[in-house]
Amino acid sequence: MSRLFEMTRGWLDERFNFTPLLEKNVTKKDVPRTLSWAGCFGGLALLTFLVQVFTGMLLLMYYKATPDGAWDSVTFIKSNVSMGWLVQRIHAVGANLMIALVLMHMARIAYYKIYRKPRELHWVSGVVLAALTMGLAFTGYLLPWTQLSYWGAKVGTEIPGGVPLIGEAIVVWIRRGETISGETLGFFFSLHIWVIPAIISAFMAMHFAMIRATGISRPL
C-alpha cells in the first residue's frame, strides 16, 4: 500500500514537482504554536459548506422546484429514497451549523482584533461571505414549500419594505410579484443552487488567497 503511494507520488513528481507543493501547503505547513481550537471555526465553516454542496447535489436528483411538486418531492426524498431522510436532515441541520460556525469564527476574529492592518480586507470579504451564507439559508428555507417556509419567506421578504421610497419595489422584485408564488420559488431555487454558490465560491477563493498571503495572525 505505501509502495503504491510512493510510486504514485514519484510519477506525479516527475510531472509537476508534486512533493514540494504538498509539503509547502499541507504536510509541512507551519501554523503558530499558540493557535487554539478556536482557530478551527473558519475551516469548519468551509467543511460544512462542502457538506452542504454535496448533500445538495444529492437532493437535487429528486427535488422539483414547482408549487405542485416541491412539497411532494421533498416528502418523496424523506420517505421513499433510501437514506433520503438522512441526507435531507444533514442539509437542513448543516445550514444552521454553518451559520453558527461563521458567527463563532467572526466573534473570535473580532475579539482578538485580528481584522486590523494588514487584514482589513480579510474581514471585509468575510462579512460578505457571512451575508451570502445567510442568503443561502434564507433561499433554501423556502424550497420545501411547507407552511413554515412559506410564511418564513413572506415575513423575510417584507423586511426590505421598510426602506424609504424604493422599499415596496424591492419587495416586489424579490418576490417576483406581489405575493409569494411559484415564481418566487423558482427564483429562490436558482439563487440557492447557482447564483449564491457561484458568488460565495469566488469570495471564498479571495478570502483564502489573502490568508495564504499574510499568514495566520500570531499574538504579540
Binding site: L58, Y62, F76, S79, N80, V81, S82, M83, G84, L86, V87
Partner: protein
C-alpha cells in the same frame, strides 16, 4: 525516549488505529451515499390496480401503475381490455387517443389499434395484454 524503528508496537498501533478510523468513517459516509443513489422505493408497488368500470365511458381509458410499470385500462367496444403501456419498440409509454381509437407511441410513432395490435410504425409486436378480473363492476389487475 528510546529509539524504535522497525517493529515499534506503539507506531504500529497508531497506524492501525488511524487506518481503522479512516475505513470506518469512509464506510459511514459511503453507505448512505451509495444507498441514496439506488432506485427509490415506490410505496404503491405491490398494490393491485382497481378500476370501477362504471366510471369509464366506452372508448375511454385510464392510466395506472402496476409494479412500477404504467398500464392502460381501456373500456373497448368488446368489453374492457388491459395492456402494458410499454411500447414493444424501445419502451416508451404509449398514449390512448380516443379521437381515432388508437394507441400512439410519442417516441417513434408506432400505432396500435383498440385491441393492442400493430397498425404501423417501427414495431412488429403487439402491446402486451395483461390478465384481469371483473367482479361487481370493478376491474382488478394483480
Amino acid at each position: 525516549m528510546s529509539e524504535c524503528n522497525e517493529s515499534c508496537p506503539r507506531r504500529t498501533f497508531c497506524k492501525v488505529a488511524i487506518g481503522g478510523l479512516g475505513v470506518t468513517s469512509a464506510a459511514a459516509v459511503g453507505f448512505p451515499v451509495v444507498s441514496f443513489l439506488g432506485r427509490p422505493v415506490r410505496l404503491s408497488e405491490d398494490k393491485p390496480v382497481q378500476v370501477s368500470l362504471g366510471d369509464l365511458a366506452p372508448g375511454q381509458a385510464e392510466y395506472a401503475e402496476l409494479r412500477g410499470q404504467q398500464i392502460i385500462v381501456l373500456e373497448g367496444e368488446n368489453g374492457p381490455l388491459v395492456v402494458s403501456a410499454k411500447c414493444p419498440h424501445l419502451g416508451c409509454n404509449v398514449r390512448w387517443e380516443a379521437a381515432d381509437s388508437l394507441f400512439r407511441c410519442p417516441c417513434h410513432g408506432a400505432v396500435f389499434d383498440a385491441s393492442g395490435h400493430v397498425v404501423s410504425g417501427p414495431v412488429n409486436k403487439d402491446l402486451t395484454s395483461i390478465p384481469f378480473e371483473v367482479k361487481d363492476g370493478t376491474l382488478t389487475v394483480t
